[in-house]
Symmetry: D2
Amino acid sequence: MKKIKAGIINVTGYAGVELARLLCRHPSVELVSVTGRSAAGKKLKAAFPHLADLDLSITADLEGDVDVAFSAMTHKASAEAIVPLVKKGVRVVDMSADFRLKKASQYAEWYDFEHPAPELLHSAVFGLPELHRSSIAAAGIVANPGCYPTSVILALAPAVKAGIIEADIVVDSKSGISGSGRTLTIPTHFSEASDNVRAYGLGGHRHLPEIVQELDALSAPGFVSVTFVPHVVPMTRGILSTCYGNVRSGKLKGGREELLKIYTEFYRNEYFTMVVAEPPETKHTLGSNLCLVYPLLSAQTGKMVVVSCLDNLVKGAAGQAVQNMNIMFGFPETAGLEAVPLYP
Amino acid sequence: MKKIKAGIINVTGYAGVELARLLCRHPSVELVSVTGRSAAGKKLKAAFPHLADLDLSITADLEGDVDVAFSAMTHKASAEAIVPLVKKGVRVVDMSADFRLKKASQYAEWYDFEHPAPELLHSAVFGLPELHRSSIAAAGIVANPGCYPTSVILALAPAVKAGIIEADIVVDSKSGISGSGRTLTIPTHFSEASDNVRAYGLGGHRHLPEIVQELDALSAPGFVSVTFVPHVVPMTRGILSTCYGNVRSGKLKGGREELLKIYTEFYRNEYFTMVVAEPPETKHTLGSNLCLVYPLLSAQTGKMVVVSCLDNLVKGAAGQAVQNMNIMFGFPETAGLEAVPLYP
Amino acid sequence: MKKIKAGIINVTGYAGVELARLLCRHPSVELVSVTGRSAAGKKLKAAFPHLADLDLSITADLEGDVDVAFSAMTHKASAEAIVPLVKKGVRVVDMSADFRLKKASQYAEWYDFEHPAPELLHSAVFGLPELHRSSIAAAGIVANPGCYPTSVILALAPAVKAGIIEADIVVDSKSGISGSGRTLTIPTHFSEASDNVRAYGLGGHRHLPEIVQELDALSAPGFVSVTFVPHVVPMTRGILSTCYGNVRSGKLKGGREELLKIYTEFYRNEYFTMVVAEPPETKHTLGSNLCLVYPLLSAQTGKMVVVSCLDNLVKGAAGQAVQNMNIMFGFPETAGLEAVPLYP
Amino acid sequence: MKKIKAGIINVTGYAGVELARLLCRHPSVELVSVTGRSAAGKKLKAAFPHLADLDLSITADLEGDVDVAFSAMTHKASAEAIVPLVKKGVRVVDMSADFRLKKASQYAEWYDFEHPAPELLHSAVFGLPELHRSSIAAAGIVANPGCYPTSVILALAPAVKAGIIEADIVVDSKSGISGSGRTLTIPTHFSEASDNVRAYGLGGHRHLPEIVQELDALSAPGFVSVTFVPHVVPMTRGILSTCYGNVRSGKLKGGREELLKIYTEFYRNEYFTMVVAEPPETKHTLGSNLCLVYPLLSAQTGKMVVVSCLDNLVKGAAGQAVQNMNIMFGFPETAGLEAVPLYP
């Protein structure tokens, strides 16, 4: 079978390099070009010794023709890099936020820039296969969701769609440190981050509008009110989100059993999102494309609590990008994503 | 100045051994007796090499006369050990839960045992100096609060007392692994706990009733409804609690400034509980008796969010026990607790 | 193509469960039976949620016919379980030490038991493919090497074989904590092991005789004198061994270049053992079957230093077991072992 | 008692900030001035929230008169800052390498700069109290040893002085990551450093010449030949050094007992260096000024092995600097250094 050709724009961040790791074992894809700014000119395997199998040089721009391009650029720069590709007919999976939000004005509000191609926002598809699989299949641009939003939307979608949860929702997320990327900062310096937990983004985290947009789309515009507080915990990979909301009056008379049934039905045909019977742990997803979801009702207060977890670099980034590509090109959805979680 | 004599019942757990570490440098206390079951007969410093300065043997029972006894026994066993001491006139700081709850029936409900001395529950004082300083000074039994409750009650007390927060409160806590003690279990085995985050106690955690009891006491019986989910994160020491609640209608017209003022006033004269201007991190408390509290209002939803953190073995256990003892015996409240947090 | 049937004896330790993880994606193997003592009767995926894809129950004994059995039992028990299988014609990869040593008397000396089947010791093959590939292909019992010995022998074999290193060798190894297994102990309790480094086995570690046996076999009986000190460092997976020895008088006139050539030649045709140009790190091998080797000569003292590293549960245990099985059954040597290291 | 006034040059690195932490509780010292480059103008406690008790501003230069100045500058810059202070009669503890080496030419060789004040090298005293206590008491400049050299020299001094160890010595050290300082680098980025062990400095580490200088001084010029390989392990604080050497022919007929006696005698009167009966662990020194030393003879090869450990920021840097200051000013040697190790 002929392989499609793929390129990665900005391979040198954690999402980009994880994508290279996944694509180098994908049965239907040949990774032909990888770009990077400061590392341009270097061999990929010199910069990243774990990729010894990939004999590619890092270049300043994508080289040769590709069928699919993945962008792991930061916001704004990503849109700028993608627009010319889209015009050439290259299909794109964008791991930045640049095509996730439907309202162009939100880019000014949350990301401090004027969107360079607002006309593309509506044809771009939010790349969460569990919600938008058929649109993804046909899309020219797939906007790969953020790591937090993937964990949160998958935790809440069944409840919001079923109309069983009130609008006022609290989301408390705990992320490993790779979520902050490879850029050097004091808070991600080992001696500062180890043995430490902290909340951040308390003024409003950029992942919030995607969460609200997608949950609103499952209920009604302006419905949900999400208070989202992300935290950083001392581990490399993994996100665990704990979501809290009240049961809507008159709903869920069947209690936990009914709740479990709603969730199980919702994800019945999914390959990677699993409703689990015991509280999930991030280690149960390490290196895999799984998202585990555990809904319950508090015995003391009746509040609905949903815990979800995933590997932020796989289902939260590069793995989901590959899953989206598989859907776009008609490959088996699990192709290249069969890895069993690494335990312990 | 003559030193008082102190004993530790069950020195071999993490709370007990931390207490020994603190007392061995206390200017007004002589640690004269330490007990342990399996380690009885061993030298303390053989079992715990960091205590090389303490030349004590671990015995099965307290030996000699003591002015104050600290119990680091587990629940039920602690009450059984304490009752005879109390009858002999020894003043006691109990680090177990056995004298924290005012209603004897709650022990059957939450801890599965019939309380052996329910008549002592009302004279025992809940040992949170920020709320009960003067009662502690006179108490025969001080019930040292749990690690989670200390972080949660200190985070919420000013808001609950001021009547500015609604009753429906979500508490999401993140604890280091020493909170699970020194008993060997699969979840606290290094290879299982490292690089892992998990929620637990989802059916109801035993620290919940103390939280509710103390917050109710600041408002009205049966007022608060707390949904409490503890999590374990891969670090040894530290708890960070993130508390969420809605502002009561018509209250807090002054916004964050008013909120900050309420908190700052509440803790104005405290040595160890500090209202901070930046989001606190557990590393800012490591090895110290500090509790840092950071209240804010969500810019997106208006919800009140309070983040607090402390070292679970110090302010969350042994340090607070020493603080209580200082109050009981009229020592300076900071005696033996001057350690500056270890950073990084 | 028809798959062979495989069984794992004692799947519940870290080596066993890692083997299950690898075999469940092997293209030519069907895992049909897994045993465990305390977990017998449980579903494998209930005990190990990351193995959700494997629908097997843990049984007390191997069930059904298998073509190959892997033993992850502890020493002595392993030999006892293997002998009847061998008599039935099942080919065995033993991950215990029971068939690694050629002299039966060494089991009494180092492992405190009388070997139950000394007559099988000489037909068993020490399962280090880099040294014994052709014998492994024909073997009935392959004795999978220990994790430390794999890293040490691969680091030293080229130098010892070439006769360029003196007999007096120091080996200082650093291991992650999963090397101590899943059995609960104080030193592997998270709060004790985190932020801690310690040397152990200072009276003599059981992996020493295998190291000596294999290095002697490459030079002369009784030749090498290895001082081996293992250390534990706070991470889950990985071993890094640093080996020190003097260059033999008159040898290695060509300096580092000659040294590098000797090593590169030695491992030229290997799939998994790579001589690398920069000092290797355990993270470059995480989750993969790689062993990285880096030889150099000290600029200050001329001493030969060889650094090697690997994932102790893969090349140091289950991955090497699969590699041995691949050789035994004529599968491609890399089958089921293609995983690229997980980074970061 | 009147306190002496102290200043810290470059408080913003880990050694500097640790010094501030220690001095802020020292009974005989008032910290009056702290400097920093990029942080100049900031409050110390804003930059380092754990120092909430210190109400000092960071300034570009030392302000006011000080009796003692500590330099935590990097090499070369440190000497340039110190020389004018010395001329003004200020006594100095230099935590850089600038006054550790006696031969000015070694600065060109190992540190790539021409020493600006070679005439001061011989009056400066190498600040290891265990070897140079009386000279330290009288010194104008005390050159605080490096973290690795402290652990290595203390491990080897008794054996070298007693003439029982051969000259050819291997030192394999394992350090926590704070030893690399607070400067941001890829290898100290959390996601790169966690779950990772690596050797570095393989071309020759700058701490080697101090080790050789001090060991030679205990035996004969040019005597020792030290092969030193430092490693980084995933923890914040701590160094463990494992030292290997052969027993000199005809020596140590009394075996381990004689060895132990030599070590115990050597450190009999020390406050902080302890010969221990069990293999020491870095966690037994966390936050304290202790150095633990454990000598033994290999049962298999007869080689002498000495394991030592300490907290690299305390006995390996700031704690030793305070100890030196205590000696210089006639304070009790343990003043301000009474902290019991933080466990667990």
